[in-house]
Symmetry: C2
Subunit: 139 residues, 2 copies
């Protein structure tokens, strides 16, 4: 796994704010909103399904911890986002090391007004062809 | 929990495409992109940290299953998103029952070109005051 060599999350000791047996928390820098945190397995994992059961458990123990600390302080709610995008090369905004983003949210916040409101227009009712095609994929 | 009474995900037997002991998969309808799926605990949970360890495990077993079926077919990658937004009332696009969205993604796809590219402009470097404030919250 040549990617490990240049992985900023594999040797981040001084950035780690909190950890447990197999997962760790860092501040996102750059960040989208104040309180934007990163929670990830310590081990270099790239595909979500390569996480062990213990890593899933440890990642969510930390996500739940930080959500409860953020909510009421930096937001009224929180998003959890994980983007598996092997079609993008690693750069300052995209690291291959699997990461869950924790993002404090508030009604009509900046993230909503700048970007997310446009997503609402994408919503379309499922038609039967599409429904059947997806159901077939999961069979 | 009065919300349970009108919860579309608490009695969705005919919509469930796949399940395991404590979690289930449905098609999102309306959906943002083809292959937009919902994975959730069967039990009515609203706060992420109210999920049991078993529910976290079962939800991710199903997320990993559907991601591997979708990738290569309806996208080259996949997003996982969970939005805990108690400040929004339940409606057609927002259900209180805790849900993880699985969304197939491809480079410069419609979701990116319509909405997500604007999020890039939000990225800002952390300044020391903000860094210290968030670190203090997690102490």
């Amino acid at each position: 796994m040549t990617d490990v060599i240049d992985c900023p999350f594999c040797e981040p000791q001084e950035r780690v704010l909190k950890d447990n047996a197999s997962a760790q928390v860092m501040l996102s820098d750059p960040r989208k909103v104040p309180g934007h945190l990163l929670v990830m397995p310590k081990r270099h994992v790239e595909k979500p399904w390569d996480m062990t059961e213990q890593e899933v458990q440890d990642v969510f123990e930390l996500i739940f911890f930080v959500e409860r600390r953020l909510i009421g302080q930096l937001g009224d709610g929180c998003d959890i986002r994980q983007a598996y995008r092997p079609f993008l090369h690693q750069d300052a905004l995209k690291v291959n090391h699997l990461t869950f983003h924790v993002i404090p949210r508030t009604k009509d916040d900046y993230l909503y007004s700048v970007a997310e409101r446009y997503e609402q227009d994408l919503f379309a009712e499922l038609d039967d062809l599409e429904r059947e095609a997806v159901i077939k994929l999961l069979k």
